[in-house]
């Protein structure tokens, strides 16, 4: 089974990120993707976005897996909203996006989210970025997640984009080596030579997850990064779906 661990529903028109479910299914089918984890991070009213995600998944429950989103601008809503969507809407993971807010992932305001992921033993994926003058302040540097991973060892923390560029990738690897509950999702628009090989040799194939950032990027490109990498076939199978199936409690 091939599982895309990183995809969006909703519209972000300024960067061309808007597709219907049918168009997303076309991209998934063309890439041979069986299941896709989706979230809606665009609404300031998180409940509204989570309801949209749940309805999107309900139309194709065999293809999409819904993840919840919460906003730190309304911290009083976080725990209740997470409980609601997990207990009543069937969402199975959490997505946070620190760069959208004036809150680095180190900020204590995120703690209830990590605590919830720990208590429920569910995956939590976050945007991550390496240090770069263009990303300042950096709200999702991979090392920032170590504190939460150590405090909440049953949370399965997934670093989206593997820190994006090389400094972030190396930082992601270091974080994963330090914490057994940190995983790394591979999609990035940087697509540097040797990046998959470096992640495998640094963090181990059992800690990597295939993702595309659909609809921003096409899953065929990121599946291609795995398939064309100089890594063992067993590693490719782990990255493309085996590890995600394990995190989500699905049969591989």
């Amino acid at each position: 089974m091939i599982i895309d661990f990183h995809a969006h529903v909703g519209s972000m028109d300024s960067i061309g990120a808007r597709l219907t479910a049918d168009a997303m299914l076309h991209a998934m089918d063309a890439a041979g993707v069986d299941r896709c984890c989706v979230f809606n991070i665009f609404h300031a009213d998180a409940a509204f976005g989570n309801d949209l995600t749940a309805r999107f998944v309900a139309a194709h429950p065999d293809r999409f897996i819904g993840f919840a989103f919460v906003t730190p601008h309304y911290p009083e809503e976080m725990e209740g909203e997470l409980a609601r969507v997990f207990d009543h809407l069937g969402l199975q993971g959490i997505k946070i996006y620190p760069p959208y807010f004036d809150r680095t992932v180190e900020d204590a305001i995120w703690e209830p989210v990590f605590a919830f992921a720990h208590a429920r033993k569910v995956p939590l994926i976050s945007h991550s970025d390496g240090r770069d003058p263009l990303v300042n302040p950096n709200h999702g540097e991979p090392q920032m997640f170590v504190r939460w991973a150590e405090k909440y060892p049953d949370a399965r923390i997934v670093l989206g984009h593997a820190g994006n560029f090389r400094s972030g990738r190396l930082s992601s690897i270091a974080a994963a080596r330090r914490c057994a509950n940190i995983f790394i999702e591979i999609c990035t628009s940087w697509r540097e030579i040797g990046s998959i090989e470096e992640l495998v040799s640094g963090a181990g194939a059992d800690r990597l997850l295939f993702g595309s950032d659909l609809p921003l990027m096409d899953p065929r490109i990121h599946k291609g990064r795995v398939l064309t990498a100089a890594i063992p076939e067993t590693a490719k199978a782990q990255i493309l779906g085996g590890n995600a199936a394990r995190l989500l409690g699905l049969a591989a």
Binding site: G16, A17, S189, R220, I221, H222, G224, R225
Partner: protein, 251 residues
């Protein structure tokens, strides 16, 4: 259908050392070997020195580097603001250079007709094509690009490295001007090839790698899985670029 069935001609690659960091492949032999292993038999290359420092000096470095490597086709970097047109013309003719690449933002001038116009008139007469980098830090204001390119419809323009941050402008620009072409090296949009085919057809799409910044293999994998007919895949991966270099327009 496999791209290994025919030669792939990469429209967007750089060759040479950079001043600010070391890249994995900067020697011609290594570049040719890496690209061949990726299924790319020929690449249009420019020299990175020509961007921040000296255009004509960088172009000379490039010609030295590609000598003896017919797989590497030189592209000159020029500044429309400061370069001497006669010097560029003579050097391009002597080296058989058929395409130019400009970096107006990096070189400190606007891409407007009162600066670019005389160059583009010469390029039209010579049936040459122009590469203009976009990406995270676009080298041109899109309004300047549209207004200037619109006045010179006989000079094909290739948007190099167009990235999702440029999408909102790229889609209408491709529709507005039929001599605008698109290098695909950074064009990652989901179903992007299918959508572009419906939007403007395949004749103005060019496979590019942005090598050595980007690994070209995954994008070639992607193109092989877009359901393209053989002719379409050949057009994107080779024929459209060959046609531009030959001075022919999109069909």
């Amino acid at each position: 259908m496999s791209t290994s069935d025919f030669p792939v001609f990469d429209c967007n690659a750089a060759l040479g050392r950079r001043h600010n960091r070391r890249v994995a492949y900067d020697r011609p032999d290594d570049v040719v070997r890496f690209l061949a292993a990726a299924g790319i038999s020929k690449a249009l290359v420019y020299h990175p020195y020509a961007v921040p420092f000296g255009t004509m000096e960088g172009n000379r470095f490039l010609l030295d580097a590609v000598a003896g490597h017919p797989e590497l086709v030189p592209q000159f970097v020029v500044s429309f603001a400061v370069d001497d047109p006669d010097e560029v013309r003579a050097a391009a003719e002597a080296a058989g250079v058929r395409t130019l690449r400009v970096f107006p933002k990096s070189h400190g001038y606007p891409f407007v007709d009162w600066i670019a116009g005389p160059w583009l008139e010469w390029m039209a007469r010579e049936r040459m094509a122009l590469w203009v980098p976009l990406g995270r830090n676009p080298e041109v204001d899109i309004r300047d690009l549209y207004e200037t390119a619109r006045r010179h419809p006989d000079v094909p323009v290739v948007l190099a490295g167009a990235h999702y941050s440029n999408y909102a402008a790229v889609w209408p620009l491709l529709k507005a001007l039929d001599h605008i072409h698109l290098d695909l090296s950074r064009f990652d949009a989901a179903n992007g090839i299918e959508r572009l085919e419906r939007h403007v057809g395949l004749d103005r799409l060019l496979f590019g790698s942005d090598f050595p910044e980007v690994d070209p293999k995954p994008y070639l994998h992607y193109l092989r899985h877009c359901g393209l007919e053989e002719n379409g895949l050949r057009a994107i991966c080779r024929d459209n670029l060959e046609r531009l270099i030959a001075g022919e327009r999109a069909v």
